[in-house]
């Protein structure tokens, strides 16, 4: 068992390592020790960051400079678009899209000779001949990293590095100097609201559970991020798993629970593996188990794998899933804080919510409450995706505007296209338009506009996105994910989807629009859980803000964005076609014919509208009409 003094010793021993992972301003040649940070998030791992690490180790060993270099696999840096990402400290040189063939030259030039390897330096850090500190680039400078504070800094698989960055100090402080009431009071005063989508006050939830006079209580961490287009919880588990473990133990102390469960998606293998490893290390150090820090407080955590059911994001459904049943919600009350897992008082907190707890304890409720807006305190992590230059993970203070996030941090829309909409809140949220770009991001503003914060997916859409098709996409998702327990959700979403299918296939009528609106409101009002209550939001918000697109589908039989297959066809402009035959060769249905050096023609009856000809034509001769 480790005591507080042991943690201090570990911190002293390991601190130096972390200190070297800051930009020192030192000039290249005089540096004697370098930290090479390689992103090990899922995005970068998918683009072979593990092979990059192996190649780096091989090169470093081959040149005999092992004592002058450390190679660290970290959590997500955020700029997934540019992966695999490598940062070299203390100079803080940011390399993007690094390939294995770059490694020998990178090691030779930078790690041996102290001169940055020019070829892969992140473009945005160049300013003339000078290299800008990457933290000063548009992507990073407006971010405030609290939940993500260790992602990209520590090796998530080494507990000592977490301890060196003040890890488990909040737990120690809570157990040795604070009463359960004081902990709850601190969390309440911080104003932290649940980041899973509901936005309920975390401290209040804890207080409800703490008030129950029962011998057995539970803490559950919801890591079943089912939102399509959201990966913040996964990135936290991959990059800073101990922060979640520490917070679960703090929550356990606050409400009087000695058992925790983490319900994590089986589809996230790296997150599961890193979290399990972190659990083993915490147990080995006695930071989980009996008599933590010699205070008599006991707490354990068990991992339960989810099995792919979006509805398990709903608290009562998640509880039934852990109990071994189908994940179907039950009416509230009783709330889980009163009667939850196996009938005992239970709190369920989302990963990102928990990742804030340690920092709140260490820095104080007032520090946290000073960030954000009056009713939405702190920061929010967003997964930026879709038609935006910098796709990736960002953490911003509440109250920032959509425009700042999309155009400054996100870098705007690629390919000179026009911004059309931003979707927040996933299948439960809605689409907002250009006129909302200057609205602030906080729980209440987004809800009042017909969207919601949700868990934090933020998908940007440009002029090539059909909003009716987007609504159909989300409805298809919620219809598929409805647990089927209550009729408005089970049948209502199916009927709503059928009407959307009708519109996108060009057979919709104006009455359909009215029916869709009516049915949407009925589903919202009559469904048992949040899945059904929010399922029609994408339809309602697109009907409200993009009604003219629905009308174009219905009255003009046109899809303005050129997406809905039934309403478009492909044609070759004879004036632009050079007769290169590329389209005919690539066409999978042999629908294009012609003679070399003469304009080709598409047989519309044989065309399957796959768009391959449009994609391959080098002369922009294929048009969507």
């Amino acid at each position: 068992m480790k005591l507080l003094t042991d943690l201090d010793a570990i911190r002293t021993l390991t601190q130096g390592r972390l200190d070297n992972r800051r930009i020192s301003g030192a000039s290249g040649e005089s540096v004697s020790f370098r930290s090479v940070m390689v992103c090990g998030g899922t995005g970068c791992t998918s683009s072979d960051s593990n092979k990059i690490i192996a190649a780096l180790e091989h090169e470093v060993a081959g040149r005999g400079i092992q004592t002058q270099v450390e190679i660290v696999r970290t959590g997500c840096f955020g700029l997934c678009e540019l992966g695999p990402v490598v940062i070299v400290y203390p100079e803080g040189i940011f390399y993007s899209r690094v390939e294995i063939k770059d490694i020998p030259a990178l090691v030779e030039q930078h790690l041996v000779n102290g001169k940055p390897y020019d070829k892969k330096i992140y473009e945005k850090t160049r300013q003339g001949d000078e290299l800008l500190n990457f933290e000063e680039t548009d992507f990073y400078k407006k971010q405030v990293r609290i939940a993500l504070h260790n992602c990209g800094v520590i090796d998530p698989e080494v507990i000592d590095e977490y301890i060196a960055s003040d890890g488990y100090r909040a737990l120690a402080q809570v157990l040795t100097t604070m009463s359960a009431e004081q902990v709850i009071d601190t969390v309440k005063r911080s104003g932290l609201r649940g980041r899973g989508g509901g936005g309920f006050l975390t401290g209040l939830k804890w207080e409800f559970a703490a008030r129950q006079n029962k011998p057995q209580k539970y803490v559950i961490c919801n890591a079943d991020e089912g939102d399509p287009g959201a990966f913040m919880d996964r990135s936290i588990l991959e990059g800073n798993p101990h922060s979640v473990i520490e917070a679960m133990a703090i929550a356990g102390y606050a409400i009087g629970a000695n058992q925790g469960f983490i319900y994590v998606r089986a589809e996230y293998p790296i997150a599961v593996q890193r979290f399990s490893k972190a659990l083993d290390q915490a147990r080995e150090y006695g930071l989980l188990g009996d008599d933590i820090f010699g205070t008599g407080f006991a707490f354990n955590i068990e991992v339960r794998l989810g099995a792919g059911a979006f509805v398990c994001g709903e608290e009562t459904a998640l509880i039934h899933s852990i109990e071994g049943h189908r994940g179907m919600p039950t009416p509230k009350p009783p709330f889980p804080a009163v009667e939850g897992l196996w009938g005992q008082p239970t709190i369920i907190n989302n990963v990102e919510t928990l990742a804030n707890i340690g920092q709140i304890i260490l820095n104080g409720a007032e520090w946290y409450a000073a960030i954000g807006t009056e009713k939405s305190k702190g920061t929010k992590v967003f997964a930026l995706g879709g038609k935006v230059v910098n796709t990736g993970l960002v953490e911003v203070p509440m109250g920032i505007t959509l425009r700042e996030v999309i155009f400054e941090i996100g870098g705007g829309i690629p390919g000179g296209k026009k911004f059309k909409a931003v979707q927040t809140g996933g299948p439960s949220g809605g689409c907002l338009t250009e006129e909302h770009l200057d609205c602030t991001i906080d729980f209440d503003t987004l809800t009042s506009l017909g969207s919601m914060m949700g868990s934090g997916g933020m998908i940007i859409m440009d002029e090539d996105t059909c909003m009716v098709d987007v609504a159909r996409f989300y409805l298809d998702f919620t219809r598929d994910e409805s647990c089927g327990k209550c009729t408005p959700c089970r049948i209502g979403t199916k009927r709503l989807l059928e009407m959307l299918d009708k519109v996108t296939s060009g057979k919709g009528t104006l009455e359909d629009l009215e029916h869709m609106e009516q049915l949407s409101l009925q589903i919202k009002n009559a469904s048992l859980c949040a899945l059904g209550q929010t399922a029609p939001n994408p339809v309602l918000s697109t009907l409200k803000y993009f009604r003219e697109e629905y009308l174009a589908h219905i009255t003009d039989s046109k899809c303005p964005a050129g997406v809905c297959k039934a309403l478009i066809s492909y044609e070759i402009d004879a004036g632009l076609c050079r007769g290169c035959s590329l389209c005919a060769r690539k066409c999978p249905s042999d629908a294009i014919s012609g003679k070399m050096k003469e304009p080709y023609v598409i047989d519309k009856a044989a065309c399957i509208k796959c768009g391959v000809c449009f994609d391959v034509c080098k002369f922009k001769a294929v048009a969507i009409v």
């Binding site: 700029l79 959201a230 099995a307 979006f310 071994g324 994940g327 399957i608």
Partner: protein, 166 residues
């Protein structure tokens, strides 16, 4: 008459070994409350899907009726009651991928492999599946074949990608 020969000794041993592994896992999970889902995960890990005879063993060992096991297994997307092809292709249909043209990739795969979505090719080589967010939105549109991730795809890249597995 060779084709009528019963399973060779090695495949029987293999089947026994797998079942033994499941029984060990069940013994380990039995004490735990809510053991069914962890056990089903184990079965799918070992067999690649949930074979009925194995579920019957689970039913007997955990003392749960088959109806309940079937109810749970069919509820969750992650569990499959039918065997899969040698390579399972998961096309990400998360929002970021969808906006960037994942439907086109899925359609092209379906045409190339001549199977519908959720189908398995005649030679049992590929199973084509659409999946919810893989969480690699920076590489959209993205798909996985087995463990390997293919990102930043276009429909035209599909035939070449499939060739890697032939």
């Amino acid at each position: 008459m060779e084709q009528h020969q019963p399973c060779s000794n090695s495949t029987i041993a293999e089947a026994d070994r797998k079942l033994e592994q499941i029984k060990l896992a069940i013994d380990q999970f039995k004490q735990m409350k809510g053991a069914l889902i962890p056990v089903l995960h184990e079965v799918q890990d070992v067999y690649g899907f949930l074979p009925e005879p194995v579920l019957q063993v689970v039913s007997a060992e955990l003392d749960l009726p088959m109806s309940e096991i079937y109810g749970v297994a069919s509820f969750y997307h992650f569990f499959s009651l039918t065997p899969k092809g040698e390579h399972v292709i998961h096309v990400c249909m998360g929002t970021a991928c969808y906006i960037k043209g994942a439907q086109g990739i899925l359609d092209r795969l379906s045409t190339e492999l001549k199977v519908p979505v959720q189908g398995t090719t005649e030679d049992d080589k590929f199973t084509l599946e659409a999946t919810r967010c893989l969480g690699a939105c920076g590489l959209a549109p993205v798909l996985t074949i087995g463990e390997k991730v293919h990102g930043r795809l276009t429909p035209n890249a599909v035939p070449k990608m499939l060739k890697e597995y032939n």
